[in-house]
């Protein structure tokens, strides 16, 4: 069974990530992203017959009610940072099965920003017992710091090489007025000299939690004919959950990710490979994350992702593959699960030719990883 070409993406709704949005409520931000997305799709809200959400403070039924829509197919998604792209894949399945025509996929931050209490990987109560008493620090910092030091050990990656992707993404953000760090460029030294958080990771290698919301409209392939935008089709999807994720501590090999398997599945379904991609929109909670995904998605040999970023241009100006043209979450901001969705919204924006100042010259195929 394949989803190749089974669904199109016809609209985007996304809020600028910000630390505070005075006077706004969580439901209001979710509704705003929904309205932006529905209007951008050229639809009326009555035409939205499918809904899939992850909103930490509202379940999917409640959100449909607050929005005043009556979808005939609805679903909740609960996949931490990958919820956004996952919701798009599930929506494609629903459209392909004839269960819905226009599925609004919407994910948001918590009401006070970030993941809103979720995330962090409290696996069945093991974390508060077997990590907490040893002072792991906030969020997932320690997990990715553990990965980064192991990666250094196995591949000899230098700190300068590791932070190169943060610098390149920050350059992308200087062409994106919606990025949290628009107007704030950063050099390699700026990243390396920013406050140490969890060795070897410094502050500018870690995402900043923000408020925000992001949505995409997934529709039948024929919808592109009446859509106001250039057509975007979903060609392939893949999922993989390694043993030990999100624990990371317990995975067989910390420097390898489940992307190796999910990318392979997506490429196989799509009938294309990494050599065909113009852009990679890769989940970037931390610098080391991007390096490992880039390798496991087939863009560089294992152990060479960091050196690739240190030596090659991967900004929107690149003739080759570009990475996280919106700035990535490191420079765009991380509005909880909407941060993961930003990798999908940016891919759609670039494919539609709506990247404005950061539009990459040729974008026919994008690889997205949540």
């Amino acid at each position: 069974m394949s989803l190749r070409g089974a669904a199109s993406i016809i609209g985007i709704g996304e809020l600028k990530p910000e630390r505070r949005k005075p006077g706004r409520t969580g439901p209001g931000l979710a509704q705003e992203a929904a309205r932006l997305c529905i209007e951008d799709s050229g639809l009326l809200k009555e035409q939205v017959d499918g809904l899939i959400t992850e909103i930490p403070f509202l379940n999917t039924c409640e959100f449909a009610e607050t929005l005043g829509i009556q979808p005939t197919w609805a679903h909740g998604v609960n996949m931490m940072g990958s919820s956004g792209p996952t919701s798009v894949a599930i929506a494609a399945m629903a459209v392909n099965a004839g269960l819905a025509n226009n599925v609004l996929c919407l994910v948001t931050s918590g009401e006070v920003g970030g993941f809103g209490g979720g995330g962090g990987g409290a696996i069945g109560g093991q974390f508060p017992q077997f990590a907490g008493p040893f002072g792991p620090g906030p969020g997932a910092n320690f997990w990715y710091a553990l990965v980064a030091n192991r990666y250094k050990h196995e591949f000899g990656l230098t700190d300068e090489e590791r932070v190169a992707i943060a610098v390149q993404q920050r350059e992308n953000a200087q062409a994106n007025p919606d990025a949290a760090f628009y107007g704030t460029p950063a050099t390699t030294d700026d990243v390396l000299n920013s406050r140490m958080v969890a060795n070897p990771l410094t502050l500018l290698e870690c995402v900043m939690p923000t408020l925000g919301a992001a949505a995409l409209m997934v529709s039948r392939p024929e919808a592109v004919e009446s859509s106001p935008h250039d057509p975007v089709f979903i060609l392939g999807v893949g999922h993989s959950m390694d043993r030990g994720v999100p624990g990371i501590t317990y995975v067989d090999r910390m420097t390898k990710s489940p992307v190796e398997l999910s990318a392979r599945a997506a490429y196989k379904m799509a009938g294309v490979g990494p050599q065909d991609m113009d852009m990679a929109s890769l989940y970037d909670c931390y610098t080391i994350t991007v390096i490992i995904e880039f390798e496991d998605a087939g863009f560089a040999p294992k152990g060479e992702g960091g050196t690739y970023f240190a030596n090659e241009d991967v900004t929107y100006k690149s003739d080759g593959i570009a990475v996280n043209t919106h700035g990535g979450q490191l420079s765009f901001g991380q509005p909880g699960t909407a941060g993961g969705m930003s990798h999908a919204t940016e891919a759609v924006r670039q494919l539609m030719g709506r990247g404005e100042a950061r539009q990459k010259e040729t974008v026919d195929y994008c690889f997205v990883n949540g």
Partner: protein, 140 residues
């Protein structure tokens, strides 16, 4: 007993893990052994997670308490106030000789931390209720 300053975090144990924490008080490091497939696993679960097994029959067995520091981080920013007063310190992942990985602190100057150095467990008594397994380097 009165103490100044923040309180040290203690494990949030449950019925499943009580035997583990009881054993630490006797300075024993224990893990579950599935009695159906005769393999060890960690972290604690009610059902064996190993391939081709789904048993809920297990016993707690002692392990060597020797292994290597698989990887580590030096925490500079803690979430907990008690730990924030103690930065920088090492949070490590220890790969036991039995193949399992556990998390803990490593008692070593931060500049000497390195992947794969040999370590062994020791037991740090916090109070009458809690003893933590911790790690220190040993000669290879």
């Amino acid at each position: 007993m009165t103490e100044e300053g923040p309180k040290r975090p203690v494990p949030q144990a449950n019925a499943l893990t009580e035997p583990f924490w009881e054993a630490t008080k006797e300075e024993r490091l224990t893990v579950q052994r599935c009695t159906a497939c005769d393999r060890l696993f960690w972290y604690p679960r009610e059902f064996c997670p190993l391939p081709h097994c789904f048993s809920s029959d297990y016993e707690w067995v002692d392990v060597s308490g020797k292994g290597r520091l698989h990887t580590f981080t030096i925490i500079a920013q803690a979430a907990d106030p008690w730990f924030q007063e103690r930065v920088p310190y090492i949070f490590g992942v220890i790969q036991l000789d039995e193949g399992l990985r556990m998390m803990g602190n490593v008692d070593i100057p931060v500049e000497e931390a390195a992947c794969d150095i040999p370590v062994e467990v020791y037991f740090e008594k916090i109070d009458d209720d809690w003893t933590l397994p911790q790690w220190r380097p040993i000669a290879s």
